[in-house]
Amino acid sequence: MAAAATSVGRRRFVGLRRVLEPVAGAHGGARIMLWSGAAITTFFIVLALIGPSISPYRFDQYQANGQRFEQLAHPSSDHVFGTTVQSTDVLSRVIWATRTELEVVFLSLIFGLLVGVPLGLISGYFSGPLDRGLVLIMDALFAFPYLLLAIVIAFLLGGQSVINAAIAITVVYIPQYFRVVRNHVISVREESYVEAARAIGAKPFTILRRYVFFNVVQNVPVIATLNAADAILTLTALGFLGYGIQPSAGAEWGYDISRAISDASSGIWWTGLFPGLAIVLLVTGLTLLGEGLNETINPVLRKRRIESPELGTPTSIVESEVGP
């Protein structure tokens, strides 16, 4: 961190470089995780983007050429993953659901960052009663079992649409971004170069923008990726319990599994297995990516101060982890 002081003011995108340089130099386990995670994640992103165009059928399509599909059909050449109780194709539903899942998670990431990061910056830098108030509210939110919070918010918004589901999930993760950013701001704000900037009369927002922001933001990709993994789990849990997307609006893995559960004991395994595997694969990919990033961006064991835990609610896992 101290090294950054000299380069600030002379190089742009300091933070960004700091993120990307170690990636190129990653080695060993970190490299494998990073690249395999990235590969899996990229695969799903591509699937979300072009999947619906290459998918054999639509997610709600129950017939083709005037012929209805068979209900609960075994996997076959016509339906590689079989069909569901509504005579829809499982493979198509899995592919289309990728888009739904990633749409919601992406939206919630954006919302979360848009709300959590600025709040964290402001709160951490300016301190005072605003800071204390925000910390209390964020800690209160954090204390809530995340799934219940998401369910209640989904209820509140009337559920159903992609936007509503995204908002429900966002609220769960805002405290994370807030806290991480705030902690880093607090530690960075005491650095000598920031003191120096203040001494020469730089305005607070300039300081925030130039010095603090990029130093702080390099941890955000890691958190965001790991949160995305978690968000998928939350979203599918919502779908499983029935509080997620309206089924006619789009396919969703969790909802498909909830419908498939009554099938499984009748020997029909394909309606639930494939959505389930999709969830596991995507979340694993995101986690690998996040962990890989974590190990590459934080390469040195920090002998410096231990992050002091926040009021009553200890810091998140990622912060207490350190790299190889």
Binding site: G28, G29, I32, L136, I137, D139, A140, L141, F142, A143, F144, P145, Y146, L147, L148, I151, V152, I153, F155, L156, G158, I186, S187, E190, A229, L233, T236, A237, F240, L241, G254, I257, S258, I261, A264, S265, G272, G276, I279, V280, L281, L282, T284, T287, L288, E291, L301, R305, I306, S308, P309, L311, G312, T313, P314, I317, S320, E321, V322, P324
Partner: protein
């Protein structure tokens, strides 16, 4: 930035004082959420059988059309007196729900935590000790994949495999119908109750019913422990005093087992408290999958019925429990490590 030398007492007082506003915020959040959500308990039970005029009459009689601020005041006053009210759907006192169903969740979460710690610590130690080897990679991958698996999916697969296909384990509820019918609850923790009654057959029955749900939830949570323990082992193994011990000529084995592992496990305590919120969320899904009559299960039931009283009471208690436990954990950490106080 880490202040030194604040006394434990002043830290304790500050922490305690901060609990109150946090609880207050949570209470308000819950109240608003329940009131603003569309639908209400009257219609939920009546709707579909009775004309609208009657529904409105009943709603008025029970005070659901009183101004929001009046309802809020009454709500706060009741909570302050620890009167969490009675549910509207089936007239159960919320405190009874906490006592009976809370105990069920407690039993499940403690058992799950036991599994999570056992599995997590084992693989975490292996991964940390044999870093960058196949064992490390395997353990980490296992941890990641198991956490990526949705609890409800894993639970159902377990039910099918062990319960249906192999047929050796029960797939739902806390005990067989007859065992449960004959059980006299003291603590509502069935494992303990059956021991109090000296009923060994019942104990085995309850134990067997606990295996699948606890293992499912515990395995998923263990992913987190694997990660944490591994990191802490690595960090500890790099610490100065380990170097010093090695320099003094203490055998590597002794260094690892006596020093590193012990110290790596201390933060696990902290994490146990952290995971309460996570565990309770996972418990909701586990309880639904295994028909476990815990608090999460009840909560979903009352939530579906828009039963304000029940949901309010339950969530408030939930939040209080989490706040209280994290307070305890913080105090314990502060006691152990003076740097943490501020």
């Amino acid at each position: 930035m880490a202040a030194q030398g604040t006394s434990l007492k002043s830290y304790l007082l500050t922490r305690l004082a901060l609990v109150i506003p946090m609880v207050f915020i949570l209470l308000t959040m819950v109240f608003l959420l329940m009131r603003v959500a569309p639908g209400d308990p009257i219609s939920a039970s009546l709707g579909g059988r009775v004309p609208q005029a009657e529904v409105d009459k009943i709603r008025h009689r029970l005070g659901y059309d009183k101004p929001l601020i009046v309802q809020y005041r009454e709500y706060l006053w009741d909570t302050a007196r620890l009167d969490f009210g009675t549910t509207i759907t089936d007239r159960r006192p919320v405190t009874e729900i906490i006592k009976v169903n809370g105990a069920a969740t407690l039993e499940l979460t403690i058992a799950a935590m036991f599994v999570a710690i056992t599995v997590g610590v084992f693989f975490g130690l292996v991964a940390g000790r044999y870093r960058d080897t196949a064992a490390d990679a395997g353990s980490r991958l296992f941890g990641i994949v198991i956490y990526a698996m949705p609890v409800f999916f894993l639970g159902y697969l377990a039910q099918l495999f062990f319960g249906s296909y192999l047929g050796i384990l029960p797939t739902s509820d806390r005990a067989s119908p007859l065992t449960e019918a004959l059980l006299t609850p003291h603590t509502n923790l069935f494992l303990i109750d059956t021991l109090i009654n000296k009923n060994w057959a019942a104990f085995w029955d309850v134990f067997r019913h606990l295996i699948l749900p606890a293992t499912t939830l515990g395995l998923v949570i263990s992913g987190i422990f694997i990660r944490l323990v591994r990191v802490n082992v690595i960090r500890t193994l790099k610490d100065d005093y380990i170097e010093a011990a090695r320099a003094r000529g203490i055998s590597e084995r002794s260094v690892v087992y006596n020093h590193a592992f012990r110290n790596a496990l201390v933060p696990v305590i902290t994490i146990v408290g952290l995971q309460m919120a996570l565990l309770l969320s996972g418990a909701v899904l586990t309880e639904t999958t295994f028909n476990w009559p815990g608090i999460g299960h009840q909560l979903i039931f009352y939530l579906d019925n828009r039963d304000y009283a029940a949901v309010q009471g339950i969530i408030v208690v939930f939040a209080l429990v989490v706040v209280f436990i994290s307070l305890l954990i913080d105090l314990a950490s502060a006691f152990i490590d003076p740097r943490i106080r501020y």
